[in-house]
Symmetry: C2
Subunit: 611 residues, 2 copies
């Protein structure tokens, strides 16, 4: 096969048995790869009703056919499992170098089942794979773990591991690769921890075979020349210059959709202190790129301020939003330090910030006392932010309660309405009261509130591929359906949305000649038609929905916090607006061919070969 390596690795942690098997070409074609492969196996072999932290849960690491090729941003892999924070299916996406290494080692996916009696790690050296004891690594933080594993395997290998947060099953623990890249959301790190799997270490030496080298080279030259011309004409892209935090922060502030003080406000007075331009000026050491990426949006930073000393990657926009504006912290040193701790302990920064902000509002309203929280939890307290992040990753003191996420925290203290989540997943930094489509996306995204499974900010804020009215809710059902499918194709192919988002695949979205379709066909030789490709995207969405339905999810779970439905902002560009969720859901379900309760019809499932 081309693009695909045609190989799946099965690792049963209970028995310790490892088995390699061939990838079914029809499955590859129908599900593309990455996220698609993950849901295929989860649906076929996983148990949607299982406790995510029990041995019965299945965890899959999967790359796409483009992953590891030299196509721009072809650096992504997906972790698929049933998320412990949400109880929903999840696909947690990361870049860096580990995914490329996995592909070069000859694998499209790794399927983990069961639970090891003792801590272990998986070492894959080209063809060979073995489970090794990891007792000596248990308790170690991410950087220490990574360095130790490179020593005892191969300095050229790549490591994806968990930190103390994953070991202790913090419900929003992440899987970290190359120390700072995170498969962050839904608690995939806790699943790894529950399996006693400390790390996966991979060394790969075989480049991904390309079906049509000339065609691939021609496309790549065209795309990269276009990128270089852009840089020559307009200078480096904002993403390259100041990272995600530099691009999005001023934009959400301008639109009045920058969630502030646990979503009580839509603009943050301290925004300029926590934007990318400030980060560049104060703490930037250098930029860093994932495999094959010409953008290099990652920020390597260093903070020397007393109490906040550290070095690492970040913060990204989502981190600046969650640990910053949401908590009313405009101390960039504190935010960056808390970010370092999230990376070192293995925590999702969005859920960490969202949970602390929730605690701050519980405290503000007197539902949470000093005694219960081990001291004040005050808006804008950067020092406390850092302390609570550390306590959460180690599950010490009040951190042991924060470790369960904002929904369980708010529920425990009698006010679940203060948890700003959908499907118990903390929402990213775009207030749906000013972006109707993003609201529908959060509510209907299969994994819970996510901006990575269909980012409506592209058309509602940035105008990519074309601008739509962010306050209009009519027609958003149809649009979100399309974006959900387009993003599932990004996630399945192995490209990053920052590049793929500019290479869309539907005429009505102004298709670019350098689209994903071209790349897929050049690399795999599968000669997908556009309809076939979009059908694959739709198949992935419906397969995920089927998993959710079997897990007990339905329309009632496609929800948003009441604050977004009934509490309009009083100030700023999004003042007076609330999310028209139910109307948009009706349209979305209709477009999907689901019934009004959000259940896929037999007709639709048959059409997609899912029954």
């Amino acid at each position: 096969m081309y693009g695909w390596r045609g190989k799946i690795l099965r690792v049963d942690l209970t028995s310790g048995k490892i088995k390699e098997e061939n990838l079914d070409p029809k499955v590859a074609r129908d599900y593309i790869g990455g996220r698609g492969l993950g849901v295929h196996y989860l649906l076929k072999e996983g148990d949607p009703t299982c406790d995510p932290l029990f041995a019965e849960n299945m965890m899959i690491m999967a790359a796409g056919p483009l992953t590891g090729t030299s196509a721009p941003t072809a650096a992504r892999y997906m972790v698929m499992t049933k998320g412990p924070l949400t109880g929903a299916i999840t696909c947690s996406n990361s870049g860096g170098q580990f995914p490329k290494e996995m592909k070069w080692a000859g694998l499209d996916a790794i399927l983990f089942t069961g639970r090891a009696k003792e801590p272990v790690y998986l070492w894959i050296d080209q063809g060979r794979a073995e489970l090794r004891p990891a007792g000596h690594l248990w308790g170690k933080w991410v950087p220490e773990t990574t360095d130790a594993l490179l020593k005892e395997t191969d300095p050229k290998a790549r490591v994806a591991c968990i930190g103390p947060a994953g070991e202790k099953q913090v419900l929003f623990a992440a899987i970290m690769n190359e120390k700072d890249r995170a498969a962050g959301r839904s608690g995939v790190g806790a699943v790894m921890g529950s399996k006693n799997l400390k790390a996966v270490v991979v060394r790969g030496k075989d480049a991904v075979p390309i079906a049509n080298k000339d065609r691939f080279a021609e496309i790549n030259n065209r795309v990269l020349n276009k990128f270089r011309e852009g840089v020559q004409k307009m200078g480096p892209s904002p993403l390259s210059q100041h990272g995600t935090i530099g691009v999005m922060t001023p934009l959400v502030q301008k639109f009045g959709v920058f969630p502030t003080q646990n979503w009580q406000q839509g603009q943050f007075g301290g925004w300029e202190a926590i934007t990318g331009q400030t980060l560049t000026q104060k703490y930037l050491v250098k930029t860093r790129a994932c495999w094959a990426c010409p953008i290099a949006c990652a920020r390597v930073t260093k903070v020397e301020e007393a109490g906040f000393e550290g070095e690492g990657e970040g913060p990204e926009f989502e981190t600046g939003f969650a640990l910053g504006a949401l908590c009313m912290v405009d101390n960039l040193a504190a935010i960056t330090k808390a970010n370092y701790l999230c990376n070192e302990l293995g925590l999702d920064t969005i859920s960490m910030g969202g949970t602390i902000a929730c605690a701050m509002e519980l405290y503000q309203r007197g539902y949470l006392t000093d005694k219960q929280a081990g001291g004040p939890v005050l808006w804008g307290d950067g020092k406390r932010l850092v302390e609570l992040t550390r306590l959460t990753g180690l599950r010490e003191g009040f951190g042991d309660e924060l470790a369960l996420g904002s929904y369980r925290l708010a529920e425990k203290y009698g006010h679940p309405e203060l948890a700003m989540v959908s499907k118990k997943l903390e929402m990213p930094g775009y207030d749906p009261r000013g972006l109707q489509g993003q609201g529908l996306n959060y509510a209907t995204s299969p994994i819970g509130a996510s901006h990575c499974r269909g980012h409506m900010a592209y058309c509602e804020m940035v105008g990519i591929p074309k601008a739509v009215d962010p306050h209009e809710w009519k027609g958003k059902g149809k649009l979100v359906k399309l974006w959900h499918e387009v993003f599932s194709i990004f996630d399945a192919s192995g490209l990053c949305m920052f590049f793929a988002g500019r290479n869309l695949v539907r005429p009505e979205l102004e298709i670019y000649p350098d689209g994903i379709l071209e790349y897929l066909n050049a690399v795999t030789g599968a000669e997908y038609s556009m309809d076939e490709l979009m059908k694959a995207g739709e198949r992935i969405l419906n397969a995920e929905r089927l998993f959710l339905v079997r897990a007990g999810f339905s329309r009632k779970d496609d929800s948003l916090p009441s604050r977004l439905i009934s509490e309009p902002h009083t100030a700023g560009p999004s003042a007076g607006k609330v999310v028209h969720l139910e109307e948009m859901k009706d349209e979305y379900y209709r477009e999907r061919g689901w019934d009004e309760n959000g259940i896929p019809t037999d007709k639709k499932l048959k059409e997609l070969g899912l029954n």
Copy 2:
């Protein structure tokens, strides 16, 4: 006379006539000086019903018998007039060098009446006094004005002047001496501006005559030795080390009485970023002392951060509170820059911060729009804080509305309840919900909410001279009455409360041997008895009340914002408490010998020789 110079200067600005007259020894003895002299003349010659910004209003600058002597902290003078912000009598207090210079020039007080046709300044060179044209100074900021006046008079002279804020009659404009020392409250600078009086420049060469030099020297040695011993034993006093902002900030935070987000909260998460310790570390250039002061609590600072560059004095605690916590700004550079602008333009920092915080809450609640405010007014926006301060001092754009103070601003936008004032004067940085006595003090202080006419934090927080329960309201009526009298003696004698507060004058308050009584008798030879001195304090209070009553004030005006009466904090040490104001007022009036409507009885007035 000793201590007193026995001379009053009368300056009628309408006619330009200047007349010197003798100070009546009985008036001096009965009213001591400073604040006492001021109220005596205002009551006798002023019109309580006049418009404060019309020529009819009288403005008095008065020093005390101790002012200009070498008694520790004997550096204060008072500006007395009818305040344009409040419509109440006011006494605005400042230190530095100007008051000493006035005494050394042979004057106890200067009485200004009328209004000059053209801008003028008063130049007093020892005995001689003249009005000079000031057209060439009009529009100039405080530092420029001060430097120009020293050039055209005497480099050794001292200048008290107004900036653009006073000229444009910002209702909380200050009178600045030595550039950075402020007679800040109630808008005394606007009165000076309404009189076309740009400045008063004084040069004095005769030391203040002391009645009993040996006794004075003995007291001074004892007091200063005790002070020095303290420094040797316990190190420099916190006030010397980190200023008022270093002493009070951690304390109000600890007590949960640090007014935050326009008094919506009682603790500020960003407090550590704006405390004196941080100021010392980041911006302190040197400390500065007023005349004869061994403490030197003033901070000379310098900020180099882009957009906030400047140099000057401050911030004091009240400034850090008002421009910081109240606005949720924890950017110390922005706070300090706004402080510099207040000094340079001639603005009261408490009212400036209180008014901006009020605008922020009006904006947050949607009562004030972007269009009306010329853009967002967001919590924590340090850059906007600086911009609005400048606009206010120059009365440009939205600043022209802020220039009227929080009460008129909140009323204009339909929500006077959001103005955190008493008698329309913005409250200083101590939340009465956690300090009952301070609440009664704010409500009954003759000039409106002030901490300088009877600072209950001494006993309710610091335990000077002895600790009382801050949450107990019974007995506070009696205590506040006593403190009002004690403080009127500080204000009349010319001492600073930071020193005088440790030298109280009543046995039940643990009188110190080195009390004010001793100093007054050694300096003046008047041989006051303790009862006579306390009676003088009571006389001053009642004379001020008489002025208020004639201006139409009564019990209804001894009020606090409804927020303090009906909205308890939900978190922190003061959670669940509200101010028991009416009960405390009943007790206060009883103790004062006033009727239940707060009107002094004939019996009381006769007893004090006020009818």
